[in-house]
């Protein structure tokens, strides 16, 4: 269960273009309240869609559960980068101090491990922080200079007072008219088909 989140690292490879290739990008549906969006997400999840997303002006508690999202693999990226940083920090000092330029300082042994701990700790934290930021950007495919959703006039209100679901056209269950009808039936105020 703890390793579940790792799976998305190879089901959705990093650094690969994540936009559908067909004539349509997908369907955008606008909802008026967070509650409408929440319940619509539960239904979209239960209908078996996998390539879709929800967009809100502010965090909605529990939405990740309603969308059926798996935990992010980001903590694993942070752990690995943090341990790498710590190992590099310790290794560099060890190598410099006891092999590349051995120097006895205040009578301490050449492998003076307590003296290496502060740098080891700092480099561990630095690499973990960099892993967190870069990993987050990578998993989100950022920076991305344009996105098909920005074609939509409706979508401009996503940072203001509107709540959206977008279903991408390469979802196996995607069907331009049936999916639109489904979203309408879930209480969408507007439904829009977007080109690639």
């Amino acid at each position: 269960m703890a390793f579940d989140s790792l799976r998305s690292l190879w089901t959705k490879p990093l650094l690969v273009n994540q936009l559908p290739s067909g004539p349509y990008y997908g369907i955008l549906a606008e909802f008026t309240t967070p509650a409408d969006l929440y319940h619509a997400c539960e239904r979209v999840r239960d209908a078996g869609f996998t390539r879709w997303d929800a967009h809100t002006p502010f965090p909605v508690h529990g939405l990740e559960g309603a969308m059926g999202l798996r935990r992010s693999p980001l903590p694993w990226i942070i752990l690995v980068s943090g341990l790498t940083g710590a190992a590099l920090g310790f290794g560099l000092q060890w190598w410099v101090h006891s092999s590349a330029y051995p120097l006895v300082i205040s009578g301490k042994p050449l492998l003076a491990w307590p003296a290496y701990i502060p740098i080891t700790f700092e480099l561990g934290v630095l690499f973990a922080a960099l892993g967190a930021v870069l990993g987050m950007l990578g998993l989100n495919r950022l920076p991305m200079h344009h996105h098909p959703l920005f074609q939509s006039k409706l979508f401009e209100r996503v940072t203001d007072d509107a709540f959206f679901i977008s279903i991408e056209s390469w979802d196996p269950r995607f069907d331009a008219s049936a999916t639109g009808k489904l979203l309408k039936s879930l209480g969408a105020r507007n439904v829009e088909l977007l080109e690639s």
Partner: protein, 404 residues
């Protein structure tokens, strides 16, 4: 007229120990352990009083540090107006309400002053310049006055908060929360200073020639780890026993686990800082304490402490699922509780056994005796009170708490 504030979000029967529940027997079991431990201590201690006093000191410090950690936890909760932990606050309040009992349990330490503390011997002071230099602080009358002062401060704060919280159960008056919050800041300062000085008096002065300016923080950090370890074990045990199982959720366990993890790292940070500067500067009046712990079998204990109090729990408690699952969190908590005991043992015992680690039956007997008193007092209070601050204005917030 009822407002939102007056609405009780929890039925009292969800938050009390029902009649006939096995936990009702805990005060008797605790008292039995205290009696048994006390008798064994008396029999074995008569033959070896020095060992008894040291064993008792470790046991006393262990349970006292849990109570002080609980007091810190509740005070910080008030000071920061924390919402999440209201459902476990009463557990903390019950733990620190044992402080007046701890005040009685320090008596053997005071009786054993001459066996424990080198500076209490005038002839040792007379031939030692450093002890003479420290004598204005390290002398018997001032030591006793300070001990009385510490327990006076702690008991005052503990009873103020315990009674305030219990009183709010009856009245539901939100002004109680405001009053206790205002008092929390100054109380934390008093508690931090008295705890630091108490640890200097009772632990550090076992090696009276030693200097360390960070020792008070080290003791405080260990106390906090001990309390969160205890809290995670008790919270999970209560859920298993059918008490508060509808109240304490995985969300609360998750937060207890996060704090346990954080203060375990904090303890390591402070412990290493103390060691690192002393190791680096290499001054005799500072290194004596570590030298005793880096020779013979004490080195093994030191390495075990490093691994068991940091490396293993660091990776064990890091993951989210471990902290949200009752069984795995309680295993981590129980482990760190034992390591907290090892930590205190490692701080105290090399003074008595400089040649190496040498466990004694009296260590166990003293632990059972003091622990029995602690459990009896806390569980006796638990039977007489709600297990949750029923009418705290933030109870509803705590019940609905979710980690993002």
């Amino acid at each position: 007229m009822t407002t939102d504030r007056d609405r009780v979000a929890l039925r009292p029967e969800q938050a009390t120990i029902p009649p006939g529940h096995p936990w009702n027997r805990l005060p008797v079991i605790g008292a039995g352990c205290a009696l048994l431990g006390g008798v064994v201590c008396a029999i074995l201690g008569a033959a070896n009083p020095k060992q008894f006093f040291f064993s008792w000191l470790v046991a006393f410090l262990f349970f006292l540090s849990l109570a002080l950690g609980a007091l810190f936890f509740v005070l910080i909760h008030y000071a920061t107006q924390g919402g999440w932990g209201i459902v476990v606050r009463r557990i903390g309040e019950t733990v620190f309400a044992t402080i007046p009992v701890m005040a009685a349990l320090i008596l053997p330490v005071l009786l054993g002053l001459h066996d424990l503390y080198e500076w209490s011997h005038p002839e040792a002071v007379a031939r030692d310049a450093l002890l003479q230099w420290k004598a204005p602080y390290l002398n018997v009358p001032f030591f006793l006055i300070r001990a009385a002062f510490y327990f006076g401060c702690w008991s005052f704060i503990a009873l103020l908060y315990y009674r305030g919280s219990r009183g709010q159960d009856a009245t539901g008056d939100p002004a109680v929360s405001v009053r206790l919050r205002r008092f929390a800041g100054p109380a934390i300062i008093v508690l931090a200073l008295t705890t630091a000085f108490a640890s200097v008096d009772w632990i550090m002065s076992l090696t009276p020639h030693w200097y360390s300016t960070i020792f008070g923080v080290y003791f405080f950090a260990g106390s906090f780890v001990g309390f969160f370890a205890l809290l995670s074990v008790v919270a999970v045990a209560m859920r298993r026993a059918g008490l508060l199982d509808t109240v304490i959720s995985a969300e609360h366990l998750h937060d207890i686990g996060k704090l346990l993890f954080a203060f375990m790292v904090f303890w390591t940070y402070i412990g290493f800082s103390q060691f690192f500067l002393i190791w680096y500067a290499n001054l005799p009046e500072e290194t004596i304490w570590y030298k005793a712990r880096m020779e013979g079998s004490w080195l093994t204990v030191s390495l075990f402490l490093m691994a068991g109090h940091f490396v293993v729990p660091f990776f064990y408690l890091m993951g989210r699922p471990v902290k949200r699952n009752g069984a795995t969190l309680a295993i981590g908590g129980a482990w760190l509780l034992v390591m907290h005991l090892v930590d205190l043992y490692w701080q105290v015992m090399p003074t008595l056994h400089p040649d190496g680690f040498s466990p004694s039956l009296l260590d166990v007997a003293a632990l059972v005796a003091v622990g029995g008193c602690f459990v009896a007092a806390a569980s006796w209070l638990m039977r007489r009170q709600a297990l949750v601050p029923l009418r705290d204005p933030r109870l509803a917030e705590s019940l609905a708490f979710e980690n993002v």
